[in-house]
Symmetry: C2
Subunit: 339 residues, 2 copies
Amino acid sequence: MTATIPAGVESARDLTGPAVAAAVDRLSPDVRIVASYHLGLTDAEGRPAGSAPAGKALRPALALLSARAAGAAPERGVPAAAAVEFVHNFSLLHDDIMDGDTERRHRPTAWTVYGVGAAILAGDALLVLAQDLLLEDSAPQGLWASRCLSAAVQRLIAGQGADLAFERRDNVTLDECQQMAGDKTAALMACACSIGAIYVGAPADLAMGLAGFGAHVGLAFQLTDDLLGIWGAPEVTGKPVRADLRARKKSLPVVAALTSDTEPGRELGALLRQTEPLTEDDLVRAAALVEDAGGREWAEKAADSALSSAGQCLADTDMPDDVRAEFAGIAEFITARQW
Amino acid sequence: MTATIPAGVESARDLTGPAVAAAVDRLSPDVRIVASYHLGLTDAEGRPAGSAPAGKALRPALALLSARAAGAAPERGVPAAAAVEFVHNFSLLHDDIMDGDTERRHRPTAWTVYGVGAAILAGDALLVLAQDLLLEDSAPQGLWASRCLSAAVQRLIAGQGADLAFERRDNVTLDECQQMAGDKTAALMACACSIGAIYVGAPADLAMGLAGFGAHVGLAFQLTDDLLGIWGAPEVTGKPVRADLRARKKSLPVVAALTSDTEPGRELGALLRQTEPLTEDDLVRAAALVEDAGGREWAEKAADSALSSAGQCLADTDMPDDVRAEFAGIAEFITARQW
């Protein structure tokens, strides 16, 4: 498997970037400075950031492909692509506060630079901006795209709410954890894969097929991310090694291990319940216990299975062959094994 | 002047309450518990709160009146009224975090009960719910109502952003402060007064007249609130006496005093710039300095002037006489002097 960024992802940023920048320019100065910084358009002093690490623009790329799947020029999907990117970044701005994360894309998170209040507001503003972009062209498809996005945002909020609640619970089931991942990650990915088509007026069966593909890819992506959070190299993840274990996150492989009814699973439970901070040795042992309890194998198989279901959705949905190939390329890219 | 709650405000709560409760029921359990608590539907343990202090439902009352102004039954304005109420409460949930406020409506604020993360999410969810209510009936008016609400939310965010920025600045002008109040308070009030009419398909001139009325009332309301924050009795405001001075808020009367180019104004500036906490004696002196510098008189006159402009908008806009009288009654109620 390859980890080279597909060309479509790069060109999506070129196409969507100006629309994103123009929309951010509408915000009031105090809010704009925070949103621009978070999006990598400017540095902390508000100066244009020439070659900022602005994230991978995966979701805009999927949204533009989605418009092309419906036979439209990718340009026509730009408002939908920018809207999805804004919603993704709204959730990052708020999640970083909730999770106390201090670094994102190798830069200090917005709340550490501008304060919690300013970062909350910037997130709020991007959420509203997303809907504005979809609704300001008064074509009826904008309304459908807006409802597609709203539904995804409510699931995203539900998933993050469950994730927060899991931190205080010792009895999270694998079903609950999969539901959470579906809400928190897969819903917006399903939206990204279908909203471009919806926005250009595609028939429902195409939109449904693309959404199904996106939901499976989203789940595979979350599983990959969870595996990287335990076994990924810091230079790949941008986070310290075993970061998710250190934070005692109830990620999918961890919950699979905890609920495995095996001796290593029970040992892992006892280790994660201990009140003292986890030492480096504890973390190494925890990772081994997840593996011994079958959590790693379960997650790798689940990712394979989700990816294969995604491929099936793609095969079953009518679209130009080059578009199908690009969708498959992005799916492969974001679930490539680097651990 | 009277401070009796107008009958229309009470009946608005009866009419809008079930729609609000039904919409909140759609949220995921972890998010719903926080939103329900904040809205006064439940107590902190999630038990139904029989006679909870659920806020005054002013904005829903204005939205229902707005539908009646367009000749529609108030029932038809219910989705718009609930949407405005959700946006208002989205902003309260987030503002309480930003301002560090620990009490609202005589109860602990949501973030103190459920944590900052859960309160951010509950606010996010109410914001999205507001748009959902307007857009799920696919009548074209829902789209216009949604855009009216979006524009108000962006101004609300801009106003709160400016308010936060003012805390770190010593040179806020009265113009900037009035702009901030217009964004933070008047914009949503203008929306509340016009969105019901827009939602039932009223012509633009009616919507514009109602929005003008709401903008002026909103400014008068903010000025009244600022005066109460200095001279209001705790039993009226629900906050400690001189709470705004203690927090060194750059409210309108304070900024009018600070920018008055008078000796008391300069003294006030020096007092509020001191790094030590303000004593009770300092607060009494600060209130006297605001008055001596003309800040109180300026704010009272500005409130009178805004209220008179609101009355003029009402007189100039075509609507049934009983609706006009109810609008005037609410305007009088929310700007009644109780200091």
